[in-house]
């Protein structure tokens, strides 16, 4: 049965959703601002017969995920920016070995140790592969609340469906904000498709090996990478997600994701009183970025305004999508401060006028 409506902070929401999505194995290392997530699971997983291990590092934690995944479990880890950097090695191996798993990144300010305030400066790391090699990781960007529940389920399903690590990209603010959510019922792991590739002992079958090294001289690695690319092409074709709310007569569409999108949405509401007709385009998958949908929209709307909690990362994907079809304005804030809708409204007003007072016009 679905749960009652419950008030929970974002980090707890993701944790509970993961348990209901069938995750019984969590491995992680503490880092602010996402500690509430492992703290919740350390107790919750025991209740449902699962396993929680606080690893000795992010590096070991992601490799415990790798091991648990290799033997068939739904498994996850979570961290915040510096910790996710440490996990990148394992994510690359999982991509190469085609192992499912879910990685939560509640982003904080960087580079280096940065600070613990919300940020969205890991966009490039998340969407461009993150570590070495020619691979991509599907990236889901919830905007908080119920979507944290829904996309956590999607993350585990995508991971299994495509045998790939999947990242859920939130931010420190989202992890702390409390909102009402309703959880779906626990999935029955027996209802999931059987994994015919796992290594759980070779009783009654030929032994299997899972590896990412292809030393063969017959182009084995080349073929493997082409195989991975086919998979990424399929994900791109079938799994793009976005939300758009754009009146037909909009003079400008705002592109933002995650918490930034919610603040932008309130800014748009505030500007309705000033007769500014604005729309919102919110990518939900950051990779694959919903380029075709944004491209179509940009044919109808003369201006595109991009707002990010970083100094300019997603804007590159917007440029790839929009090209010269519309004027592109950008306003980015580095991590470490929390903007209000009024701050974003200043940018949108400026972009609508094209006066360059807040943000800047992008020269494509």
């Amino acid at each position: 049965m679905p749960s009652e409506k419950m008030l929970m902070i974002g980090s707890h929401v993701v944790a509970e959703a993961a348990v209901r999505a069938g995750c019984r194995y969590y491995f992680g290392y503490p880092i602010t601002p996402q500690n509430e997530l492992p703290e919740y699971l350390s107790a919750r997983l025991l209740e449902v017969g699962g396993t929680f291990i606080q690893g000795e590092s992010e590096v070991s934690s992601i490799n415990m995920v790798l091991g648990a995944s290799a033997v068939g479990a739904r498994t996850m880890t979570s961290s915040s920016s510096p910790g996710v950097s440490l996990k990148q090695e394992g994510i690359s191996y999982m991509a190469g070995m085609e192992l499912p798993g879910v990685i939560i990144n509640m982003m904080r300010g960087g580079p280096g140790l940065g600070n613990i305030a919300p940020s969205a400066a890991d966009y490039f790391q998340a969407t461009r592969g993150g570590a070495h090699g020619d691979y991509r990781t599907p990236v889901l960007a919830p905007a908080g609340g119920q979507e944290l529940v829904d996309l956590t389920f999607v993350a585990f399903d995508l991971a299994d469906k495509y045998r790939t690590p999947v990242m859920l990209l939130g931010d420190g603010l989202m992890g702390q904000v409390m909102e009402p959510v309703i959880f779906p019922d626990f999935i029955d792991l027996k209802d999931l498709p059987e994994k015919d590739w796992i290594v759980d002992g070779c009783e009654g079958r030929e032994p299997r090996a899972l590896f990412s090294m292809f030393l063969g001289q017959q182009g084995e690695l080349y073929q493997h990478n082409l195989h991975l690319q086919e998979k990424y092409d399929k994900i791109t074709a079938e799994e793009m997600r976005w939300e758009t709310n754009c009146p037909d007569d909009a003079e400008m569409v705002v592109v933002a994701y995650g918490t930034a999108a919610r603040i932008a949405e309130s800014a748009i509401e505030e500007l309705e009183a000033e007769d500014l007709r604005l729309g919102l385009f919110r990518p939900i998958t950051l990779w694959p970025f919903p380029k075709p949908a944004l491209r179509e929209l940009s044919k109808k709307v003369p201006k595109v305004a991009v707002f990010e909690f970083s100094l300019g990362q997603m804007v590159e994907d917007v440029i790839f999508s929009v090209g010269e079809r519309a004027e592109i304005y950008f306003h980015g804030l580095p991590g470490g401060i929390i903007p209000t809708p009024a701050d974003v409204a200043d940018f949108l007003r400026s972009a609508a006028k094209g006066d360059g007072k807040v943000g800047r016009r992008i020269d494509v």
Binding site: P180, S266, P341
Partner: protein, 180 residues
């Protein structure tokens, strides 16, 4: 309708709990709610604040541009957040602790002697409950029953505190109704 309320004070004054009560009460009433706390390094300075948004429509930003109401449980909180309050907003001051008032004249002020009122109903630690009662009464955000429901939701598992807290909440409502 959308109303944003910022609660601020020292750690230990039950500032965040007031936010929980409003949040739970709003949810119980069928409103959309968001609760946005200060966290991390800011918390370690000994101050705490949170912003609660209630709306009959889906809430976009959990971050407020200008809160409609400010609850300042100590003077530094008034100093810090007074400039952010919306015009014609309401400021609730914990007059048991400080008697300064805002310098702005475009906001309404209600001074609540929270500690005295709490003591009156036999609840030394119920100052925050008196205050949330006064806030809900004055703003009309929640009825007294909804506020009590909110308190019960926020303190699930700590039922032994319910009777005292209920009295303190009711005292806050009465203070607004009777002006004393």
């Amino acid at each position: 309708m959308i109303t944003r309320t910022t609660f601020a004070g020292f750690g230990g004054q039950g500032v965040l709990l007031m936010g929980y009560v409003l949040c739970h009460g709003g949810m119980h009433k069928g409103l959309d709610v968001t609760y946005f706390p200060s966290y991390g390094a800011e918390m370690r300075g000994g101050t705490a604040n949170c912003t609660v948004t209630l709306s009959d429509k889906k809430i976009a930003s959990p971050v407020a541009s200008k809160p409609d109401a400010l609850v300042a449980m100590n003077y530094p909180s008034l100093e810090k957040f007074e400039p952010t309050v919306a015009e014609n907003g309401t400021v609730f001051l914990n007059s048991s602790l400080f008697t300064e008032t805002p310098s702005r004249d475009d906001i309404e002020v209600l001074q609540v002697p929270t500690a005295e009122l709490a003591r009156e109903v036999g609840s030394d630690r119920g100052a925050n409950m008196v205050m949330i009662g006064a806030v809900c009464a004055k703003t009309g955000l929640l009825t007294v029953e909804e506020t009590i429901k909110g308190m019960e939701g926020a303190l699930k598992g700590k039922e032994k505190f319910f009777p005292q807290n209920q009295k303190a909440i009711e005292r806050g409502f009465a203070f607004v109704a009777d002006g004393k």
